[in-house]
Symmetry: C2
Subunit: 150 residues, 2 copies
DNA sequence: CTCAGTGCAAAGGATTTGCATGCCG
DNA sequence: CGGCATGCAAATCCTTTGCACTGAG
């Protein structure tokens, strides 16, 4: 889904984000972003390292932190002990996660626009009541994926 | 909000859940549940230990694990590195979380029933498409809480 | 009495950091 | 050239576990 001709575009945007923060878009960071573009959902460090063996663990951690600060990447935490990373929403599209309780895998999905809008309105109504200023929302479904229920 | 006369009721339900699993409801576990009833949102281990200094760390971890297995407690993970725990939804009510990006605190909130129902329907529609079997959903708002924006 | 539960301290595992080296700008 | 980024290995920090002890039934 993410392997379309917008990839080059994403690269440019990441480059821009880094430049604004006075950070370099080095080859290691490029390879990291490339791996993240690959996944159908957020990836764990292990998955990233497996996907590109040339990436050293510590650099991956460091660069993911920087890419997150810069706003190019989002860190996700599920119930298991592994943090997961994905490209930031403004580089892809707003989406949510299907988290399989059995295999632990995380995949993306979207809500139809009407439902998403309605949800957004309801959320703002609720947040306003307590003076909370919403930045974004996060919606995950926990359950069993198709392969695990088969 | 949770400090009402349903507290005794919750205690009974937790006791029942433990009994079903052939687990004892010991004083340490009682104190732990008592602390969880205190919070306006999920608590970190540190918060729990601070709330009741007589609770040893390792027992808290162990008992939270057991209470989670039994279905009395839910483990939450936010973006920071601390796991948080709260009483299971069927002991309280379905609710969501306001996560402050500045101070890291988590508080509960609810959506109005109409919005919640609409959301649920939309979620099932989306999940059905990919053969995902929903157990529950998790909805968090990320942003700035009233005290931090002041 | 017996066995699950407890508490201490030491181990485990994901993540972070120090430091010498290499490379981008 | 100068400083940021890198990579290795050692350190850190939340969490888990081993083991001897205690208390509930």
């Amino acid at each position: 889904m993410r392997t379309t001709d917008v990839d080059a575009d994403i690269d440019d945007q990441v480059a821009a984000l880094l430049r604004q923060a006075e950070q370099r878009y080095t080859s290691g960071r490029r390879r990291l972003v490339a791996v993240l573009q690959t996944g159908d959902g957020p990836l764990t460090i292990t998955q990233i390292l497996d996907a590109d063996r040339s990436l050293p663990q510590s650099s991956v951690y460091r660069n993911l932190t920087i890419l997150e600060e810069v706003g190019a990447v989002t860190r996700i935490v599920t119930r298991d002990d592994f943090a997961r990373y994905e490209l930031a929403e403004h580089l892809t599209e707003h989406h949510h996660h299907l988290i399989c309780s059995t295999c632990g895998d995380v995949t993306d999905f979207s809500l139809d626009p009407r439902a998403e809008t309605g949800l957004d309105r309801a959320l703002h109504r609720a947040a306003d009541e307590v003076g909370f200023d919403i930045d974004t929302h996060r919606l995950d479904l926990l359950g069993t994926c198709a392969s695990c229920s088969g």
